[in-house]
Symmetry: C2
Subunit: 215 residues, 2 copies
DNA sequence: AAATGTGAAGTTGTTCACAGCT
DNA sequence: AGCTGTGAACAACTTCACATTT
């Protein structure tokens, strides 16, 4: 009988949306810090992040008490605590599978490493196909995936293979020990409960816009 | 007195999540059709889309009654009605601004046109910079943006400029008449109420994964 | 005086359960 | 008998309002 997905223990039950907003808060906090601001009120930070202030306070409250009444929050301390919580306080290795158009772009995308993720290697069925010279990382054949994941303790993967192959490759990733998949393929992946999938579907995102844009 | 944002009239008040799921349903329906299946129950379709069946029925109910009790839904009819609703029944022109790494990749991404969106032109401050030969569409200087948008009745834009320029470019887009922006820049954009912004932030998505992946 | 932390109220979205068609 | 459509129950998330702390 489908066991009720008993979310990871040792962590309180945090709404996914809260986790998502924490990422936004860090970005705002970093900007504040860059501007030499060291203390911020929930009102001000919420404003920058585009949410209401009680929302922000509730979000932070899931993890403890970080503010000083009458004063606000310490910017650096908040950044630190969010990084700890998200696991971005140390560099995390990520593999990418499927080095086509999108995969290539993502490999040279600086946005990831800036946030503490290193896409150090990629895998593709055609590992030696002609590629953009901007791609500096090695591209290995699929057979090397499992060993690589084990050796470098890789826990996350970026999946940008064609939809027909997505499920199969996802299985290989899970088998190899990957716990999180950022899925760019337009497919609903089936994975075990303990594995997390984040779907990024740009066509759907555009379609969504299309709905709201109609006159 | 902050007027209560009285969402677009003439359309019932549809949850954003419902609109999002409709896109997923279409994709499942298309696969069914490709397999020669012409009728489907809410149970089966919901299963394929990864949701519960009452969810699916509620989602569809916002727009009318489409099913036949005792039988199910007509696949083609459902596809048609969703396309009508989303505005994807006819090809829609889209402009892209910021032809860097990511922008280049998105321009040669086949996923968009397959769903009825045509990225026919792009704009960049360095419109004549050396680019990947796979980019077939023309890249114009920013000054031509407004005219192009007006001439081709462009209502949607893909924004992939660096974060520092994002707000400024967004203003130009809105000024030119764009009603929907798919924003890849890691910035919270300020736009008028009637303009819709869809943020796609891949670094945040990875960070999010990172949280759920921790042991 | 200012701003956090939080119980309670409000709102939105999901699931259930079943009446009502076909 | 089977499956949709939907009101009612439920759950999740957001906002409010205010007691509490600095």
């Amino acid at each position: 009988m489908a066991a009720k997905k008993k979310a990871r223990i040792a962590r309180p039950e945090i709404p996914r949306k809260t986790v998502y907003r924490l990422s936004i808060y860090t970005r705002c906090l970093q900007r504040l810090l860059a501007n030499g601001i060291h203390t911020v009120s929930s009102e001000a930070l919420a404003g920058a992040a585009g949410v209401k202030s009680p929302q922000l306070r509730k979000d932070l409250a899931y993890f403890g008490q970080f503010g000083t009444r009458g004063l606000g929050y310490d910017v650096e301390q908040l950044i630190q605590m969010i990084a700890d919580l998200m696991g971005t306080d140390h560099l995390q290795p990520v593999v990418l599978v499927g080095v086509g158009n999108l995969g290539t772009a993502l490999m040279s995308y600086r946005g990831f490493e800036k946030e503490g993720f290193g896409v150090h290697a990629a895998f593709d069925v055609q590992h030696d196909r002609q590629r953009d010279e901007r791609v500096k990382q090695p591209v290995f054949p699929m057979e090397k995936l499992a060993d690589y994941v084990a050796e470098y303790h890789v826990r996350m993967a970026i999946l940008c293979v064609p939809p027909e192959e997505a499920q199969e490759v996802a299985n290989e990733l899970v088998e190899a020990g990957v716990m999180g998949i950022m899925n760019f393929a337009p497919t609903v992946l089936q994975v075990p409960d303990e594995v997390t999938v984040n779907n990024v579907n740009m066509a759907i995102e555009l379609e969504n816009l299309s709905y709201f844009v109609q006159q």
